[in-house]
Symmetry: C2
Subunit: 463 residues, 2 copies
């Protein structure tokens, strides 16, 4: 607790230094670089809040949960009369940095994932994705919709079903990452299924929009959408593997510094994220594909070549076999992967995404009892539909896969907003859908953490 107190005091001291300046910020609006400097301040506030919140790790929770919760607190502080954080919600630069943050996160996850392992679980992931799209869609459109909201147009039920299909991979990926479980088959299945789910979601969105606006949908359009998405994924992985291998060989030959490796890697990620978005997929799908194909061997580098020569010099006159053993022991440490260079960028940007995701939660929507009840019904369908998808995951921990698929996140929000702007769903249904997204986002991290730790205990019963 003393530690917590110290951190808090330091933060308060920092904020005290800055607060009068923020309060008076309006006065000097004409000063050069004003907008940028204010954003510097907000980035610092978000990062410090995120680090403070990572104290949840002390109670065994992944730090992503802390980041989400502190975001919820910051975003709703205005409800208890603290409007301090409100400007953050309108800051376009922060919104961009948050999107860049989740792109960097999925790139990192892709780098840490193994493409061979992904291929091995490919069919299972496909099955999980399909079940995880079909079941929630059917539940939403034909059961929960008509049952909880009798008398609405079929289009409204269609949209509720569509919102339930989305999977947001960011939250789950962070939980797996925080708990160092990315290499497990469960994590690989969820990651693969989430990517496939994004493609399916793209198709559903197009079909549902066409039905609502035009009244029908052509098989040609659906075919074209599917072809585009498959072309992108297969193409970027095949072309990417070739290109990355070529680039890697070239890098190995010219002996460039880590600056070149970092730049090529990050540009690869950004270009694929951009291309994914251009064909209608989420940018994070492109970033993940980029991470998957980057050649782990060729994008490595000697982080510190001098260590080997220094140690050799120190061992002058030593027995040759000891020499060899020591050199062998050092080598893996002297050699490093481009992941290590991406990590600091992730330190800077990833917390912005999760704190801002938390900030977008509007707690006041929970205060309306009829809407809340409706939301709980929809949420139940949302959970059930995805948990069921875990059943087809084969010989792995099915609950981990099922719960890993639960978070809806931004894709669900986009569906809901589209339904609202097409006037297919009412404001109260919209609010209920938002609550469903919130609950799916906030409940998943602790549940997944519990399941992963239970699995650990089971596999080591003697511990």
């Amino acid at each position: 607790m003393e530690r917590l107190l110290r951190v808090t005091l330091v933060v308060i001291a920092l904020l005290m230094m800055a607060l009068p300046a923020v309060a008076g910020a309006g006065d000097s609006a004409a000063a050069p670089g004003h907008a940028a400097a204010l954003t510097f301040f907000w980035i610092a506030v978000i990062l410090i809040a995120a680090k403070l919140s990572s104290l949840v790790e002390k109670i065994g929770q992944p730090s992503v949960l802390g980041e989400l919760v502190i975001g919820v607190l910051m975003g709703n502080a205005v409800l208890v009369g603290i409007p301090f954080f409100e400007p953050l919600k309108q800051d376009a630069v922060i919104a961009f940095l948050s999107e860049l943050g989740v792109v960097i996160l999925l790139f990192q996850i892709g780098l840490e994932s193994n493409i061979e392992k992904m291929k091995a679980v490919g069919l299972k992931a496909f099955a999980v994705a399909v079940v995880g799209v079909v079941v929630p869609f059917v539940l939403g459109t034909y059961l929960v919709g008509p049952w909880l909201l009798p008398g609405l147009a079929f289009h409204a039920y269609l949209f509720i079903g569509a919102v339930l299909t989305a999977t947001s991979v960011g939250i789950t990926a962070r939980v797996f990452q925080d708990l160092k479980k990315l290499q497990t088959p469960e994590a690989q299945i969820v990651l693969g299924a989430a990517v496939i789910d994004d493609v399916l979601g793209l198709i559903i969105l197009a079909v549902v929009s066409a039905i609502v606006t035009v009244g029908s949908v052509s098989i040609g359009l659906i075919g074209w959408l599917i072809a585009k998405a498959i072309l992108f994924l297969v193409g970027s992985i095949l072309v990417g593997q070739l290109l990355a291998a070529q680039l890697g060989k070239w890098l190995a030959k010219v002996q460039t510094g880590m600056g070149m490796k970092f730049t090529l890697a990050i540009c690869f990620c950004l270009v694929l994220a951009f291309l994914a978005q251009q064909i209608g997929l989420a940018p994070i799908v492109g970033a993940f594909a980029a991470g998957l194909v980057l050649d782990p061997v060729h994008f490595g580098y000697f982080k510190d070549p001098k260590v080997v020569s220094d140690v050799k010099a120190a061992m002058e006159g030593c027995a040759p076999d000891v020499k060899q053993k020591v050199e062998k022991a050092i080598e893996p440490h002297a050699y490093s992967h481009v992941e290590d260079l991406i990590e600091p960028v992730a330190f800077l940007l990833v917390p912005i995404f999760f704190v801002m995701t938390g900030m977008s939660v509007r707690l006041e929507t929970l205060f309306d009892v009829p809407i809340l009840l409706l939301a709980l019904g929809i949420t139940a369908a949302a959970f059930l539909g995805k948990i069921v998808s875990g059943l087809v995951a084969g010989n792995v921990n099915k609950s981990i896969v099922g719960f890993g698929m639960i978070p809806r996140g931004e894709v669900g929000l986009i569906f809901a907003m589209m339904g609202k702007s097409l006037r297919v769903i009412s404001d109260s249904v919209f609010a209920a859908l938002i609550i469903m997204v919130i609950l799916s986002t906030l409940i998943t991290p602790p549940v997944l953490t519990y399941l992963l730790k239970r699995q650990d205990r089971k596999s080591r019963p003697s511990a």
Copy 2:
């Protein structure tokens, strides 16, 4: 050359992949995350262009020169009918990232600088700053102005003089960094003088604006400005040293990971940059101060604690003295500084600043002969005034200090724009001042490189 060809081919391949998408980007403006994804693409374009341009290193030039030149080419491609890069100029997010980039650069430079060395050259830096402000101001206001532009109001000459006083530290700092000369007394004097120059510039800007708008200026205002600036610099260095030492001790005690160290360091930089801007200084001055005070000992971390234990295990049964020697050889390599974590962030952001600085150069201003001649006169005064300041730098290479002070950059631009908006200077004088800023920015890197290399040759005549 074959290497260059390969890089070019890879870049063309990447662009080919993206180009049709950019061309069709207007169609899918409604797609989610569209604006962000387009900015991802632009960041990739800037970073690849910057890395391509770093080929100037092969001809012994610092890579910052390459970044500036490729920026100039991109920014003026529209003159030869290629409007491809024009949207970049309006991208608010890119503008922010560029400002963040120069803040990160000056933080890095501050981290690499030694506060004791800075104190040792403090008086010399002060002398250089004062001469480097007074001489250009007098030259501009009383000589070049009245001589080249007879018959203008005194206020106009005053603004020309004021524009000539600014020093932009970014360019020079990058040249010293690229050539690994940051630890030389010349670099320390220039860095110190540039910070002091920013304070003097703040005062001059306030005084000149007051004279032009109100007609007079109160001693009280000047006193308050000086007091604020000194309070900030001395205060942030004193409080910062205390705070950084406290934080450092705490970090050493709680054994946090590098994530916490990185976050605290970068937040420290961002908050000081913000505070500097709030009192009217450039944010980079705050970032530099933050880098200066961060405790290099306590913000270090073991990047790879396992290397030591692995090597110990490999040396099992070895003579104790050899063991000790080897462990001693490894230790400095296993231990790392927070600088290493800032570096990848700098890889991502710093090139954006220099490419965008290059892009802001408008080559068409050089086509008007009378304006060009006027510009050359003003530029001569600008160069002379700063070169003279090197003469008071004491027992160091005076030309390196003098030329290091030459770049005007954004501070000069702000002065010029204020003069234009107050209608004190005409459009053609404004254009001439812009050309002066351009020339001071583009000529400095090669000249400084030449001087630094000549110094190297002199100090090692036998090489």
